[in-house]
Symmetry: C2
Subunit: 394 residues, 2 copies
């Protein structure tokens, strides 16, 4: 059993994924994460006012004892009205029946096309065989079964040791859209064998999401279906004190790893770009600058063109809403300084070419006015991005 | 003289444009609009905290009596610090000397690459010949000389008759970037022979800009160099009462025409898309929805792919910040309804193909909850857009 990794490494959980033919034939599209015991769950959901039926359902059940999460790809079950909600409920009901657990202990998530009703009957019919194929070894199937335009499954797990013992946190993610401000759905599911009290888990989870998934210009606000859920076993004796700090550190590391994998696989991207802002008036201002630069289409196309166009970065910083002043602004690509306190530097063409041809680039923006820092991850935008999104059709 | 059109149709103004070799040889890059008398000027400038030297200079002089505007293309004179400001001042000073008017009566505007110093000496040397070539007939040269990635010059003029007599308003514009949130510089210059008092002109101009240039997702906030200026002759007897209403109506019509021309020429665009929001809680909410949909990369790429993906539109409406509810939302492409009160309609494939193949498309979004309306213009995003912006290099 030592060879199990990813989700499968976490004791007490079983997994299954099948081809239910929801929208296409011959692809895994229906999957289930099942716990052998009641779990404490925390969830971070889209704040989009138009949100999918499974989001509404899961949000209403997130404080219950949870036994499973049923996930379908290829159809978002969003903008599907009452019928969509009834379908989501019917699917979780069938899952609960097959698992012999309470209906309200099942959460749901969907990703795919918006505005098309799920083939509910087909899915309900497939659920018994889904449940029958549950096995601890199937963990890695889930990461594959939730993919849409992702090119690789994304999975991460880390062990930690604390006063109470050895534990593991494992997670999977999908979401290869350009990510915010116009993201494709982001789905993240994490499980752990570390018992954490509900209130602690809620606080820690949202704090970690903020520093990881919300720092890749993935914005909880945006898609209709964004969902991040973590399950931790209900237990009498939960982690406390310093153990919780170790838990949080490990959870942040797993989420950061998933966040990097998401950006690495951004649709059509050729570069992973770390935007590091320092010297801002405060951390909130640093985040504003980092976000504006990360989201700038002109910056992203310049990165694709391998053009160290720091002017576009200064421009984005200027409209970010943060306090910035031209005279105090410095910008570097890697260790190559292009703007120093508002004065353009003139590195040689060779130095610039070298800096821009890396697969991973760090851009450092120093606002020169305080101690605020923030890191964002972003990617370039390529022909391929336009192609993918022009052709991903209704 | 009846054959004069555009800027040249406005009495009392003269124009010149020359090849000064600012960044490239053999292209018009330096131009001048000169008034034969003192003018009242109104200006709307970028609110970007990083703003170009000519913006700072023009903003500081906008309340003076104005005699001319000197404009250069190919270099934005932005992020150029003190030296940039000194250069802008030197250029307006030379222009004033050659025109034999006060230095502070000359405004300046620039567009082009950020962070590179202007070849100031070269420009100053070229100014006498620029001034020597001033002529009323040269109006159409200006629209051409201020272009960057624009593919066509943009000019518009309209006559109006009011109690005080017959007048004309003429304007030119450039700015073919994707426009906000990441626009290339927008420059708009208007002249009129209608005398309007400074305070009236300021109010009317900013109101008209808000309904035209600010409704094409061109955001005054964004570029470092955005500048819109209107000149009206100083006079003892200015337009009053209903005459001002006719003036405002005409000005809005000219600005709207320029705005449409800007979107039609958006970089790499293949479609002109009118986003009409109605039924919002109020006009402010309608604007939020229209702006979010207009700026959505996923909507824009779907339009390029001729995919009537109303799900992406609903999604953008949901995160716009406006009050929206799935159950009350309706979306149409042209007269083809795709979503009616939250219920997906299923027009035939042929109907959808027909609706999407038009060069101009109107998308109507009915929020179904009030009387708020707003119109935005946008365009699709194509491979060509990425190409242009990846290759427009430092």
């Amino acid at each position: 059993m030592n060879t199990l990794y990813g989700l499968s490494a976490v004791k007490g959980f079983r997994f299954a994924a099948i081809e239910a033919g929801i929208r296409y034939e011959n692809r895994l599209d229906l999957s289930l994460i099942a716990a052998d015991f009641d779990c404490v769950a925390s969830g971070v959901f889209t704040t989009n006012k138009i949100c999918a039926a499974p989001v509404r359902l899961s949000r209403s059940r997130i404080n219950n004892p949870i036994r499973g999460i049923i996930i379908n790809a290829t159809n978002a079950n969003a903008c599907t009205g009452e019928e969509g909600l009834r379908n989501a409920m019917a699917i979780t009901k069938s899952t609960a029946e097959a698992l012999k657990v309470s209906e309200t202990s099942i959460l749901a998530a969907s990703t795919g096309i918006i505005g098309v009703q799920l083939p509910c009957e087909k899915i309900v019919k497939a659920i018994p065989s889904l449940v029958n194929s549950l096995s601890r070894e199937n963990g890695s199937l889930i990461a594959r079964a939730i993919m849409t335009t992702d090119t690789v499954p994304k999975e991460s797990s880390m062990r930690f040791t604390c006063f109470r013992g050895d534990f593991i946190i494992a997670g999977i993610a999908k979401g290869a859209g350009m990510i915010a401000p116009n993201m494709a759905t982001l789905l993240v599911f994490l499980i752990t064998d570390a018992p954490v009290a509900k209130n602690e888990l809620d606080t820690i989870f949202s704090r970690c999401i903020d520093k990881s998934l919300n720092a890749i210009t993935i914005d909880g606000d945006m898609s209709t279906n964004d969902t991040a859920i973590i399950l931790s076993p209900e237990a009498e004796h939960q982690l406390t004190g310093k153990d919780l700090l170790v838990f949080e550190e490990t959870l942040l590391a797993v989420l950061t790893d998933l966040a990097e994998k998401l950006v690495m696989d951004a649709e059509g991207a050729t570069k992973l770009v770390r935007i590091f802002v320092k010297g801002a008036r405060d951390d909130a201002d640093a985040r504003k600058i980092a976000r504006a630069v990360s989201n700038s289409l002109l910056v992203k196309t310049a990165l694709f063109g391998m053009d160290p166009n720091w002017g576009r970065i200064a421009c984005a910083a200027g409209y970010s809403g943060a306090e910035v002043s031209e005279e105090q602004l410095s910008i570097s690509f890697g260790d190559l300084c292009l703007l120093q306190n508002g004065v353009p530097q003139n590195p040689s063409r060779e130095e610039m070419v070298r800096a821009m041809h890396e697969r991973e680039i760090q851009i450092t923006i120093d606002a020169g006015m305080g101690n605020g820092t923030f890191r964002f991850l972003t990617s370039d935008i390529s022909y391929e991005y336009v192609k993918i999104n022009a052709e991903y059709s209704t």
